[in-house]
Amino acid sequence: MGIGYVSCMLRSASMAAVLLFANASAPAAQLAAQPWPASSQCEACVALQYGRLHMRLPLSSVGRIYMSGGEDGALHLLPASDRPQQGVVFLAVDSADYLQKYRSAGLLSDADGGSMIRFLDALGVSRSNDEAHAKLREAEGVSAARHYSRFSKDTVSVFWIGPDSTSVQWQRAFFVVEGENAFYTLSGNITPELMAQILSNLSVAPQP
């Protein structure tokens, strides 16, 4: 086990405490800024890039990296146990298409739909007497989430919709890079440890 991995575990333990207990009694998740995990040395790591997201993940936590669906497919990170049902999956999504889905349904105002960042920020605030906005929050799973957290560093913002009260097995996070037409989603069993590992050595790189 590398030093970087131990460091990730310690950081993520405190992150977990913040995320799981600070909002445990909140009736509806509100967006909360969280500190970006400090970068760490990670020698026993594998470097991988999905789109422009460049990561270094501990070999001890990634059993297999699998690409499904062809050239524009999804990137699966399977745990060391190699149980795909415990893994997470990255997808690249066109921002304009994603927002248009809500615009066409009459749920998204121009102000909230100006960019993915504005959309995701808007999801983090509950508004009384705004039925359309409430449906947005419901559809994205924010209204039932235990936490909704934002991490920002340089040109990258990550919005993590935490688990609801019934299960931690399926959560989602949005990775948004300023100036990009697409964003990335991460879905699956996102543990605080995994999120810390991803963020602590995340950078934006040109496609090789």
Binding site: Y66, S68, G69, H76, P84, V89, K135, A139, A144, Q169
Partner: protein, 118 residues
């Protein structure tokens, strides 16, 4: 608006089974309707193409799946056959891609989006 009846109940069971197959908890209330069938049909098709599953059915008439079409195509054990040829990872990726759309449809919110049957 939810559709009542045996076919709608059958659609609900197929969706619940698909999510269970993918080990994704369906934590929200599912209201089956024609829009839900449309989105779920796209999910079935994309998961089959991703898995290179053999023997999946041709596109539905008009390119949009309906409740009756799904019930007809997945009945008589065909859904179990479909799942046996479908990759769990592909199913999870499809849920990651279309899950929000399915939920919107279940909420009775209509969205315009191109189907992926081509």
């Amino acid at each position: 608006m939810a559709v009542l009846g045996t076919d709608a109940d059958q659609l609900r069971q197929y969706i619940e089974s698909f999510y269970a197959f993918a080990h994704v908890p369906l934590t929200w209330k599912l209201h089956p309707n024609e829009a839900v069938a449309d989105v779920f049909g796209t999910m079935l098709n994309e998961a089959a193409r991703c898995s290179r599953a053999i023997g999946w059915v041709p596109p539905p008439p008009g390119g949009r799946a309906t409740i009756s079409w799904i019930v007809m195509k997945l009945g008589n054990g065909m859904f179990n056959h479909y799942k046996s040829q479908t990759s769990l990872s592909c199913a999870r990726a499809v849920i990651a891609k279309w899950g929000t759309q399915l939920r919107l449809a279940s909420m009775g919110v209509a969205c315009q989006e191109a189907r992926a049957w081509a």
